[in-house]
Structure formats: C-alpha cells, structure tokens
C-alpha cells in the first residue's frame, strides 16, 4: 500500500504538474518522511551493530583464534595488534578477542534464553490477566507490582546466593526478573483487543474463551509484545554481565563479559584494553539491539497506523 503522503511516481513523459502547493521538497522535509527515514536508519544501524557482535560470537569456534582458555604465561598483557592478537592478551597470556567471543556465547545464550522464557511467561500471564480480568487480573497485577517494587539487582544476587551461580539459575533468575515488563504490555494490548468485534463474533459462534484467546487474540498482539522482548535482550545481557562482574556469574573458567571486565579492572592503569575492549563490545551490542528494537517498533507502529486508515 502506498502511504498517503507518498510523492506520485514520475512517468516517462516527464515531470507531472502537481495539483497542490505542497512541493516534493516539502514532502521530503515532512515529519512523517523524517520519521520513516529515522526508523529506517535506526533499523539498519541497529542491525549492523548487532551483527557486528553476534556473527563473530556465533562463529567463535570456527574463527582462526586461540582457545579462550589457552594460556601463554610468557605473553602476558600484550597490547592490541601485537603478535597476532587483535585485542591483545590478558593477565594469563590468553587472547582477549577469543575470550570476548567465547564469553559472548555464554552472555548471549543466557540473554536469549532469559528473554524467551520471560517473554513466554509475560505473554501468557499478561494475556490471561487482560482477557479473563477479575481475580486472574488481580493476582497477576499484584504479583508484577510486587516484583517491580523490589530492587532488581539485589533480588538477583539473593537468588544466586541461595541457589548457586550456574548458567541455568542465572537464566531463570533473569527470566523471572523480566516477565513483568512483557506482562504489563501484553495485558494492556489484550484489554484493547478483547473489545473488538471479531472477539464478540467468536464468542457468538460459541468458541471457548481459551480458544479465542489463544487462536485469535494472542496472534494479534504477539508482534508488538515480541518487540519489547527484543528490547529486553539488551537488558538481559547487561544483567548477566552485572552479575558476573559482581562475582555471581557462572563459575570459572567460563569467560563471561562481566567477569572479563571485573578481572581486567585490576590492570586498568597499565592494560587499558582488558576493560575497554570488552566494554565496547557490550556497548555495541546493547546499542545495536536497542536501535533495532526501536526501528522495528516504529515501522510496526507506522504500518498499524497506515493499515487503520
């Protein structure tokens, strides 16, 4: 579908005289055009930044790099671009790039698993609360309010201290920490959706409520909800890094981003790269994922708006 403000396409016969005082220049400078361009820019920048991190992390095993744990004590703390070490070496002579990429696998796995689990919990709980209302809504709403009132990092540290720092525990903890965001959004989307005529039609046809929710309502809100889940990925990666930084991450010798930075901070005045380069990788991923999510949200919003016209 062509947008209402799209300029008419030029024909082969030459430029068409516009029947309006609004010039092509005005259209190009219009807010809607600027927004569309901005969404596109965000989308591309986000995708590039994310791929710059995710692709090497995913291919860490096949890249011609030393192992993340391979030590060479005689090559301690080599500066970047020395002896074939792009990111330099750490305090035990391990290749920092390799550790960052392998560490990224742990951090990203935890992040992705956590957002998938939190997304599922959030969508199911939020949809149930929004659609069924009454006591279901009361229970879910009070639960998520109670959880959101707790200091997040303190809660995570407490749970990790109780159950021990393993990848499974950390994934579950982050997943449980993030479900309220998704649940709140899903609930509000479902509240709008359940009042629409197609839901009433399904009810008249005698479909069970659970079927209406699962087959008709959720598919209509899942795209918007999943965008929030994508934005939560960046937060999950940051949380995992924070936990590792504070010593509550997976046990050594797992290299996680937080731990690489935590170990490197003792050398910050003499070996800047041990902290700076892993930090930049985290920044790149988080900014990339956020821009990507923002861009997708803007595009979805525009399509919805255009579709409703």
């Amino acid at each position: 579908m062509q947008g209402a403000l799209e300029p008419p396409a030029a024909t082969e016969a030459g430029p068409v005289t516009r029947p309006s005082a609004v010039t092509a220049r005005d259209l190009a400078r219009a807010t809607a055009t600027r927004r569309r361009r901005s969404a596109s820019l965000k989308l591309w920048t986000g995708a590039v930044c994310t791929l710059l991190v995710v692709v090497p992390v995913a291919l860490a095993q096949v890249l011609p790099l030393p192992g993340a744990g391979d030590q060479d004590l005689s090559k301690r703390r080599l500066a970047p671009l020395t002896d074939g070490h792009l990111f330099g070496t750490d305090q035990l002579g391990r290749d920092v790039l390799s550790r960052v990429l392998h560490g990224g696998q742990v951090s990203l796995t935890v992040g992705v698993l956590a957002v998938v689990v939190s997304g599922l919990i959030g969508i199911v709980a939020g949809a149930a609360a929004g659609y069924y209302g009454r006591w279901v809504d009361a229970v879910v709403s009070r639960l998520l309010e109670a959880q959101m009132s707790l200091p997040l990092l303190m809660m995570l540290l407490l749970v990790v201290a109780l159950f021990g720092p393993s990848v499974t525990v950390i994934t579950c903890v982050i997943a449980i920490a993030q479900w309220p965001e998704v649940a709140r959004l899903t609930r509000s989307l479902v509240l709008v959706e359940r009042e629409k005529p197609y839901v009433a039609a399904a009810q008249v046809l005698g479909l069970p409520r659970i079927a209406i929710l699962a087959r008709h309502v959720i598919p209509n809100i899942v795209r918007q909800a999943s965008l929030v889940v994508l934005l939560l990925l960046a937060q999950a990666v940051l949380l995992e890094s924070a936990l590792s930084y504070l010593g509550a991450g997976p046990q050594r010798p797992f290299a996680t981003w937080g731990r690489i930075i935590s170990d490197g901070q003792d050398y910050i005045t003499t070996s800047w790269w041990l902290v700076t380069l892993p930090g930049l990788v985290i920044v790149l991923l988080v900014v990339g994922v956020n821009l990507l999510g923002d861009g997708l949200r803007d595009r979805t919003r525009r399509r919805t708006t255009e579709g409703s016209r």
């Binding site: 744990g69 030590q71 004590l73 035990l92 046990q251 050594r252 003792d266 005045t269």
Partner: protein, 524 residues
Amino acid sequence: MTRIPYAPALSRRSVLRLGAGASAGFALAPLTGCAGPTGAPGPGAISLGLNRSLVSLDNKLNQFDAAVTVQRAVRQALTRIGKGLRPELVLADRFEMTEPTAWTVRLREGVRYSDGNPVTVKDVSTALKMYAGVNGSFIVGLFPEMPTVEPVDERTFRLHTKRPVPILDQLMANILISPAAGNRPEELSGGPGSGPYVVTSANSGTGEYTLAVNPRYWGRRPTVDRVRVRFVPEESSRVVAVRSGELDVIDTITPDSAEQLKGLPGVRLDRTSGTRVNQLFFNFRKPRGHPLADARVREALSYAIDGEALVRDVLTDSAQQAEGVVPLALKGAVRTGAYVHDPGEARKRLAALGASDLKVKIIWESGEFPADTSVMEAVLEMLRGVGVRASLQQFEPGGDIQQWRQGRRGDWDVLGNGFSVPTGHASTSLQGMYGGTPEKERTRDTYQGYVFPRIATRLAEASAETDEKTRNERLAAVQKQIWDTRPCLWAFVPDVVLARRTRVRDVGLLQLNSYDLAAVRLEG
C-alpha cells in the same frame, strides 16, 4: 543610506539565557569536586585502606594480618613480635622462663589504660580466661595449652603450664589486655585500651574507624594525631585511592598492583619477606581407596604445576616457591624439598597409579591470597595439560566456604588457602596445620582433615622441648616427615608489600605484615 540601528545590547532573550547559564553553573559547581580526590585525610591525619573489614578491634575470634596494626594501636599485649621475628616487651618489662613450665612476668611501671586506670595482674589473668572461653578462637588454637596466672606481687606474676611451652613469650604477643571488669568471652566492641590511640568513632558494619592520640598514653606520644581506617575491598579502588592521595597506606597488595604503583611520584612501596604460606592444600578427608588418599598420586599431581612460571609471570617475582612445609623465614623452619615441574612425569606416574582419569575440584575464597583467581585459572590449565579434569569453585567473602572446608557442605579435592601465624615460630605453624588428632577431627577442628597421629605426637614432643637446639632438630625431622605425606599440590610464600604516600614516613613494615602505628611520622 539607511542606517540599521544596533540591536539592544541586552535583549530579554539574552538575559534569560544568561540567567539560565548562571543557574546551571551554580547547580553544577559542586560536581567539580568529583574531579579531585574525595575524603582526603587532611593535615595531621593519615588514612589507611584495609582489604578486609575490621569487624572489631579485639582479636578473640579472628585476626587477619592488616588488622594487627590497628588493633595494637588501641589494645596492647605483654609482648609483641618485632624485627627479625624476635619477641619484644610491651606492657611487661620482664618475661623470662624461670622453670620449664613457669615464666616470670613483671608489668612495666606506669602502664595504664586510656581512662587512667593502671594495667593489673588481674587484667592479665582475666584476659587469658576470656580468650579460653571463646569457642573456635583462632588465637587459642595457637596455644598448646592456656597458661594460668599466679600473682606474686602487685606487678609480678608467674605463668604456669602443665607441659613446657618454650615460645610462650611469642604466643602471649597475641593476648590483648583489657580491664578485667569489662572483659567478656567475646570480641569487645568498646572499652579502654592501653595503646597509643583511642577510638573516637567506629562503625563495625562498614569497617570504618577513627582513632585519635590517647592523651594518657604511658609511652612516647605518637606524632600522627588522627588515623582514619577504611575498608576498601576492591584492590583496584585501593590502588586508585592511594594514587590520588585519598588513602595514605594500603597493605597486602597484589604483585600487579605493586607493578602499577612502582615509580609513581608521591607513592613508595615497602617490601619484606613474608611468613604466610599460601597453599593448594589437598583434602585429607578422602575415604580410603580414593586416589587422592594416596600420597603418590598427590605427588604425581604436583609435577603438573609449573611453579616457576607462576612465580615469575603471575606473581611477578614477588613470591617464592615453598621449599618446606612452612615458610623458611620462621624460626625453626627447614628446607624439606622443592616442587618440580615435569608434566611428562606427572602423566606417567598418574597412569602407573591408575589415576589417569582423575577429576579434581579446587575451591577457594576470593582474596585469600594475591592474584588468587589468576593463580587458580593457571593451575586449572596446567592440570588439564596432564589429562586431569579440573574444575574451580570460587567463594565470595562471607560465603559458606568454612562449611565446605570442614566437609559439611560438599566434596572438594584441593583448597586454596593461606596460613600465617602471628608468633614468628615454625612450631606454632606446624601445630596449627599438621597437629591434627582423631579427637580434633571429630569436631572437624583439624586442618582440612590432616590427621597423622604419629606426626602430631612428634610435633607435640618437639614443641615442648625447652632446649632450643634439640627442639629445632626434632622439628626439622618432623617437617621432613610431613613433606613426605605431600600435603600440598603447590605452595608459595609471598612477599609482604605495602604502598604508601611519600608524606608517610617510618613505616617499619614487619615480616608479619604489620607495623607500629605509633612510630609512623607524617610530613606535610
């Protein structure tokens, strides 16, 4: 030509802009303080940054190295361990062995507490009873038996033991004397002391204390008026703080931090050989039949460790590989052997002993010794290099590693642990680590389950020998026996390193990783 008049010099918009700018300037001005060091100690005061929280200025329950400096500045003992690990007199002016099981002690004339009351013989006898009344006291564990006090006159008394304790003068350096009326079998949080400083503010939760000169101090008045003690757990934060001048002295620093601070203007490093041994100690609670219950397997594993590389590269030459079961700086310590790196030999011996597929779990608490995580990760790779499947479990301070050490929580194979004794004598160290008996093991009060009754008996006999030459000969023989049991995967003795601002002078760093705060001078 039409002349365009000048715009008004000060338009309303300009005034608003100027106003907004000035307001922002005023609002943000305090932030400029962030650019410089915060909390600098100020003139006449020094600031110490400890790596562990000083929960109390008493030592009945526990005592870590850095705490000794501060504790002794407030509370004192009859003696102290001085330069060359020799005992020096403090509250006593006479401390002599007059019989094999009796020592005659005389309190120094005029010694008194910060409230003006004199130190009495009753205070000493009460202090000994109170220390003995504490369950699980580190200090009491150093004594083969607690002495009893027999008063002779107002200032003189005798200390009696059932068996000879030839190093009682060194052991008594750890019994801090407090007024009898206020002494309790627990760590005291307040009350007067006889030291050169008094506590003016204390927060045991955050480990922050402020000390001021004791106006009634019986000895020479300290030159530094005020001392601020802070707990700064992060090594990097302590290094940054000493660089910026926020802290004046930081102790127990890692080799890497020392390297960062070396040669910096305004910062000096003090270094001396240490008396603390850091070990990768085997779990001696393994059931019979377990590979690690066999000394030959333990020895084979030790061939996997490249100690020279660890000392040279990870510890940057600020430590020495252990050549005995206790540090050689201790009196009575002897060389018993050396750790040899030979991965081929390790593989061959492990295969011959049927332990090729050995799994080893190493546990330790963060900060137990310098560069602990680097050492552990390096050891992990070295063990993997000889085919051993090794794993690490790191505990944060305040965790439940104590339960693990006692075998009450989970199984482990090697413990990263540091052991130091505040007496400067090998016999205390040997008894603390290797004097375990089946009776002690019932309450899990042995050193990682090390129970060899024959060694414990010979140690007790040697430690009770009053003739120094004979005692040292017997101790040397026991140390060789202990070495043959291969208690450690690897061990090293780190140097004691302290960093200070150059305005802090006369820090006489002792081998026990402490110094006399009253002797410190301040310039500027």
